[in-house]
Amino acid sequence: MSVVIVNNRVDGLRVTIYDVLHYLEAGRSAAEIADILSLTPEQVEAAVRYIGERRDEVMAAHRRIEERLARGNPPEIEAHARAGRARMEELRRSKGLSGGKEVNGEGVACRRE
């Protein structure tokens, strides 16, 4: 049966052409992409063909996705990572967990010597 791309999904799977494009841009071979995403060679081939046939449209959406990912979390969310690290440090002190990491004065985790 031929592989279909609908709503950017490869063969209806939870893998999109943008997932495939991400690995293509990273220099991965078709075989590697198939292995990483648990796709068949035919599914990777269909995704690559789809990307090639609609390059402008796909690349525009791809750039939007990459830009959103590059922005990451806003500062108020990042603060929760620091709060989580502080909880871990508190736990290490109170329960004696050996975590092997400490938090420096700037909230950056660093390995103990």
Binding site: R14, H22, A26, I36, G84, G99
Partner: protein, 135 residues
């Protein structure tokens, strides 16, 4: 929260992260959380399940989805699902910013594992935020 769920598009990355979470520097913190790591199949989900089904299952089972989720923001997207069904009590979804680097660069993967653990330790204050990007 009861556990983590690897999305179909980043099973290998989550495997790497779980390995790192069990290493010496993080192992006891990870174990202390007592989280499970069920698979799609064990939850009755399918590799073709739509975002809405996966997200609702995660909320019902108190699981944190880890996804690469590279898709446009269409009506059936994860983003739209969170907007439509999300509440202040909803568990967030972790999104890997660079799935390839998790597999290709150990230092980057360690950064992601560290950040994941930090967020897990403040999860009580992160309900309702929608998405959390890693790192």
């Amino acid at each position: 929260m009861k556990g983590l769920l690897a999305d179909v598009n980043n099973v290998k990355q989550v495997r790497v992260l779980l390995m790192l979470l069990q290493e010496e520097s993080r192992g006891e913190f990870w174990l202390h959380l007592g989280l499970t790591t069920p698979t799609f199949g064990e939850l009755g989900l399918h590799p073709r399940s739509p975002d809405t089904d996966v997200w609702l299952k995660c909320q019902a089972e108190e699981l944190l989805l880890i996804t690469a989720n590279r898709n446009d923001d269409g009506p059936d997207s994860l983003e739209a699902t969170i907007r439509r069904h999300g509440t202040p009590q909803s568990l967030p979804v972790f999104t890997l910013a660079d799935a390839n680097r998790v597999l290709s660069e150990r230092s980057y993967a360690e950064l992601v594992a560290d950040r994941l653990l930090e967020y897990l330790y403040d999860m009580g204050n992160l309900r309702g935020v929608g998405r959390l990007y890693l790192p």
